[in-house]
Symmetry: C2
Subunit: 379 residues, 2 copies
């Protein structure tokens, strides 16, 4: 029964495939195995195609107005068999969230993998950047990405941290490693940095080239908010989710002690960093500056520096604060640069980085990670 139905589905997908292009375009690497659409053209245009014979209107919706796919929604055109198609772009290379709108109903493209973003399992497309290969899977030693369950007293629930251990972690049981706590953005989760961000491949490649110290990455879910049901978080102040406060408490009280007890870390601030993107950038700034006895390095990717603007020459200083953003998210560039200048005036070692041409997207944050991690644990 199951086999037969599965084959029927394959046949249905085959019907889509028949119309495939012969123009040199290729299926996106983010497609499901065997899915011919979406396809990426040589000039970075993207063609989306789905079959929906009974639908009245179908659109492709980029995830946000500054998404590298362009300003949507994009109306798809129906052919006489009910197959809907639209070609967009040329688009900005990198990873882009998107979804479909079928008669007004927002849903995934059935031909692509899903990625947790926008508070849901969301379609995504990887548009190849032919000028970059630092996040590709290469023939180098690979680390592992481990799912580690632990009980958090702060959130009163079993939680899953994702932990990248560098290549050869298991070969020598005496070697100890520095740790980077690395956070995703609003609406994402602990899988974002490896799934969308390819952080493990970025580190594998940097370590193989001896550009970065072998290090452990720890990725947790920063959307720490009151939950429905028995896991709800006690509110300390009013009814609003106290996300960043709860995140900070969880990291300090539960996560760091568990990581240091479980993995061969070097448990001092010179070998512990915290970084994040967007919402996670604010969380990294907050938890980092409030705990300089624990964190020597702070990374702020597309954060705008909103968390702090006042710095004095007399306050304790981290070893490095790194801030970066994409040039296409200009308001964040302006505010973050001002923060970097304020820190520099106060004598705080601060670095500024711009990712050329990209916006508030994973391609910016991949580039941030690639510039940030080689600067860590050098002092």
């Amino acid at each position: 029964m199951r086999m037969l139905l599965t084959l029927s589905l394959a046949a249905a997908m085959g019907a889509l495939v028949q119309a495939q292009a012969t123009d040199g375009s290729k299926p996106a690497t983010s497609n499901l195995p065997g899915a011919e659409y979406p396809r990426i053209h040589a000039d970075s245009r993207v063609t989306f195609r789905i079959s929906a014979p009974s639908a009245q209107k179908v659109q492709v919706v980029p995830g946000g107005n500054d998404n590298g796919l362009g300003q949507g929604p994009f109306d798809m055109q129906r052919d006489d068999k009910g197959v809907w198609t639209v070609t967009v772009g040329p688009v900005v290379p990198g990873f882009h969230y998107y979804w479909l709108q079928v008669d007004g109903f927002a849903c995934n493209d059935p031909a692509t993998q899903t990625y947790f973003g926008w508070n849901k399992e969301c379609s995504g497309i990887e548009v190849t950047d032919k000028t970059l290969d630092f996040y590709d899977v290469k023939d180098v030693p690979h680390g592992e990405v481990r799912a580690r369950w632990y009980y958090s007293k702060v959130t009163r629930m079993w939680r899953r941290a994702m932990v990248y251990t560098p290549p050869d972690y298991d070969r020598d049981a005496r070697t100890r490693y520095p740790v980077l706590y690395l956070q995703h953005g609003a609406g994402e989760n602990e899988r974002g940095w490896t799934s969308q961000g390819r952080a493990n491949f970025i580190l594998d490649n940097l370590i193989a080239e001896k550009k970065a110290q072998p290090m452990i990455l720890v990725m947790e879910n920063g959307m720490v908010a009151p939950k429905a049901g028995e896991n709800s978080l006690p509110a300390k102040s009013g009814a609003a989710p106290r996300r960043n406060e709860a995140f900070r408490d969880m990291v300090i009280s539960d996560l760091i002690p568990m990581i240091d007890a479980t993995y061969r870390t070097i448990p001092d601030p010179a070998h512990r960093a915290v970084a994040g993107l967007s919402m996670g950038a604010g969380q990294a700034m907050q938890v980092g500056f409030a705990n300089l006895d624990k964190f020597g390095y702070i990374g702020c990717f597309s954060g705008g520096g909103a968390a702090r603007s006042d710095f004095s020459t007399s306050e304790p200083k981290p070893l490095l604060v790194w801030m970066g953003a994409g040039t296409a998210e200009s308001s964040r560039v302006t505010s973050a640069k001002a923060t970097v200048e304020a820190m520099s005036k106060a004598g705080i070692p601060a670095v500024w980085f711009e990712a050329p041409g990209t916006s508030h997207e994973w391609q910016t944050w991949r580039k941030c990670l690639y510039d940030f991690t080689p600067r860590l644990f050098q002092k």
Copy 2:
């Protein structure tokens, strides 16, 4: 921008939430954080609800005709605000694939997590079985689930194996462990056994109770077929996907050598098992019986025994062949029992198991794993 749009999405979800039930029903544990529907009632009925004001027809479609949700598709009823609702069941407890059909277009329920099944990212619902807790997250030592990348010469691609290492694997660098190679069914992938099957929690609990030997689980993608693009597999015989043949070659030539070189295994047949469900059960029978110098134990979950029916008293024998199915998938029960009888007559140690009340679904396979693994590596 991103933050604002995310909040708008949260507000939109809030509109759905307003209508939540006050009848003792609870959101399914498979829901996205904060999603109030689908809800499970005390009597195991399930209420699905989505907002689709512009749609003409919305249905809930169970994944297959023997799915524990019942015979679908189920028509949802529209209210005057365009919110669609249907209550089904009482349903069979366990994990069930399903999807929506919105004006004929098959898509996910945006309120639930997705699980790779039916050759796509598929909605799924976990219906609590109040009589069972063997697959729950409990306060016991937890193993890790590790993503391990490796290059396969057979499939000519970088592949990802999922590897469960038992609790305390990293504590004592001298302890070595037996290994169970564990395969999913057709249309699923290497994440199925931990995501849908909760294999890691099942082993954590069995090991904590000293009912099973601490062991390593290795889960790979058994949908080994010619792929589009540069990773296509050379066809040996005709144009059809040679899935099981390629799987067997990959396991023997690439996977086992990599696992034995990377993890502290006991690399002999008395400490190596292979098992799978449905399509994976056939693969386990094939690779197991063809390589008795490598595998001492073979597990066949809902496989029907189609892979073999002829057994002779003179042939080499595994230490144990374990076969099981759910009582609600009666044709598989009949054929598998016949295979067990044929093996027993030939002097092959064979065990038969029935999961009461469940069909060709993950609840059957969780129960299979729970009965199978305590019998491993005892000789």
